[in-house]
């Protein structure tokens, strides 16, 4: 990807703090934030921070990864349903593919996702790791 400082800076709220838009009319929350509620078309939306814990809904282990991501292959990508029911797409870290199961509890962590060459912009974003129990 070709990243610019302004492009990365604009997404700081949604990528680092998991900011979403909540509709003040129908009460539903959607991530990433949008100017209009996709469920009822209300423009009466506010920015809220999402809960940082959730469960894995579905996942994949991606073996063919693009240039710039090779050191992380294979990538484990997932859709996580957070405690308030909002779903986010992200990467699972600190876990082996065979340990993952549907409904596994995970928590948000801030990690590097991409380096644009040696001198380019470094992109950070929220990823998820298993919550260790016991």
């Amino acid at each position: 990807m070709r990243m610019s400082p302004a492009r990365v800076w604009r997404a700081r709220g949604s990528r680092y703090r998991l900011e979403a838009s909540r509709c003040k009319d129908c009460g539903r929350t959607v991530y990433p934030p949008r100017p209009v509620c996709p469920y009822c078309r209300s423009r009466n939306v506010e920015i809220v921070e999402l809960p940082r814990k959730g469960r894995v809904v579905t996942w994949t282990v991606q073996y063919t990864v693009p240039h710039g991501y090779r050191s992380k292959a294979p990538l484990i990508l997932a859709i996580v349903e957070l405690e308030n029911g909002t779903r986010v797409f992200s990467e699972l870290v600190d876990v082996e593919p065979e340990e993952i199961r549907e409904g596994m509890e995970v928590e948000a962590v801030l990690r590097k996702v991409y380096e644009d060459g040696d001198e380019g912009v470094i992109v950070y974003a929220t990823k998820f790791r298993p919550i260790k129990t016991g």
Binding site: Y39, T58, G68
Partner: protein
């Protein structure tokens, strides 16, 4: 529709975009009695990302001797071709032009797989999906795992789809992969993005297809066997997967189908033959269900029962589908409409299904941008 033309889908290293587009477009012109298109609509996805080429309408129009005529490119990722047909149809239906050429063109074989894969990933959400390194296969894999989990669909039953597609493609001289595969071969092929394996996925290939559309009045002069475009529908879904209400409810397909069926005055059970979008095996299942050929969650069961083969109603993808005919992404939707037109005319050079009512369904992204086009003999 008064003329169709297409090239074999292949690694056309000897042909640039001008010559490949011209091969299909000139065949379509020669399929008519002297058509003179007043405008050219080009369906293409990756000329910009792979070839640094925009203004594709001018490149194609000039290459086929139509310099001076209006021309534009329509982009809807892998659904570009179907959307180009919808735009071409509306230019004629509006009365603006009496004849319009639609050309789908894609060249994908000049670059290594990793470069092409990155180009294809542009169909997904750049800021919230592709930034994590997600490939297009990975996004479809998320849907496939959820499908198998919710509906209890068996992996080996889903593998029946690529087996059927390869069987059909053996008979199609335009198809890219003209060989048979077995369920065992599908289940043993390398994992691309678990649970998607190599033989669940459409291949990378170059190809072009073209159609000539004309008003009803002009159509009778230009062809002895014009095919009627009886219904057209378009639909979209969220660009990103996570925010969709239900990942297994392909609303873009349902919306597009509803419009097209209503316009044509038909129901799903009236369709004799259809070409549907099957970039991955899971895409085929969602397409079948979104079009109303099977109940949600039941299409894999229908495959177990041997449905959708040539002679069934509907027969699905007698061409071999994206899986085996091939998937030159922005051209695919035009191939599908051309194939269905030839099925209804009775001159498709592969498996002939015949029938009165045909349908072509093309989608870009993970069922993100869909067109459904109903044809009548």
């Amino acid at each position: 529709m008064v003329g169709v033309g297409m090239t074999k889908i292949d690694r056309h290293y000897d042909k640039d975009m001008r010559s490949l587009a011209a091969e299909a477009a000139l065949k379509a012109l020669d399929d008519t009695k002297g058509a003179d298109p007043k405008a050219v609509v080009v369906g293409n996805m990756m000329s910009s990302s792979l070839y640094q080429q925009d203004s594709l309408g001018a490149l194609v129009a000039d290459a086929i001797g139509l310099r001076g005529r209006g021309a534009l490119k329509v982009e809807a990722s892998c659904g570009s071709g179907g959307h180009a047909v919808a735009v071409g149809y509306s230019l004629v239906a509006s009365g603006l032009y009496d004849q319009v050429m639609v050309v789908g063109i894609e060249k994908m074989c000049d670059y290594p797989t990793s470069v092409v894969t990155a180009g294809l990933a542009q169909a997904a959400d750049a800021e919230y999906e592709v930034v994590y390194g997600a490939s297009f296969a990975a996004l479809n894999a998320l849907v496939m795992r959820l499908y198998m989990s919710r509906y209890g669909a068996k992996r080996e039953s889903i593998a029946l789809w690529p087996v059927m597609m390869h069987e059909n493609a053996v008979h199609n001289p335009y198809a890219q992969l003209r060989f048979r595969v077995t369920v065992e071969a599908v289940l043993r092929s390398p994992v691309i993005a678990d649970p998607i394996r190599l033989l669940d996925a459409a291949p990378i290939g170059d190809g072009a297809a073209a159609l000539i559309l004309a008003s009803e009045e002009v159509a009778r002069k230009l062809s002895d066997a014009p095919v009627l475009i009886a219904g057209v529908g378009m639909g979209s879904d969220a660009l990103d997967l996570a925010s969709r209400q239900d990942l297994l409810d392909p609303i873009s397909i349902r919306y597009a189908a509803k419009q097209a069926y209503a316009m044509a005055g038909i129901e799903p059970r009236n369709v004799d033959v259809a070409e549907i979008h099957d970039a991955f095996s899971i895409t085929a299942l969602l397409s079948i269900e979104g079009l109303g050929f099977a109940e949600p969650g039941k299409s894999w069961k229908e495959l177990e029962e041997g449905r959708y083969r040539p002679g069934d109603k509907p027969s699905l993808n007698p061409s071999g589908g994206l899986k085996a005919r091939g998937h030159p992404v922005g051209a695919t939707g035009v191939y599908q409409v051309a194939e269905i037109a030839m099925q209804l005319r009775g001159d498709f050079p592969g498996i002939k299904c015949g029938g009165e009512i045909g349908l072509a369904m093309n989608t870009g992204g993970v069922a993100t941008l869909t067109t459904v086009i109903v044809l009548r003999r």
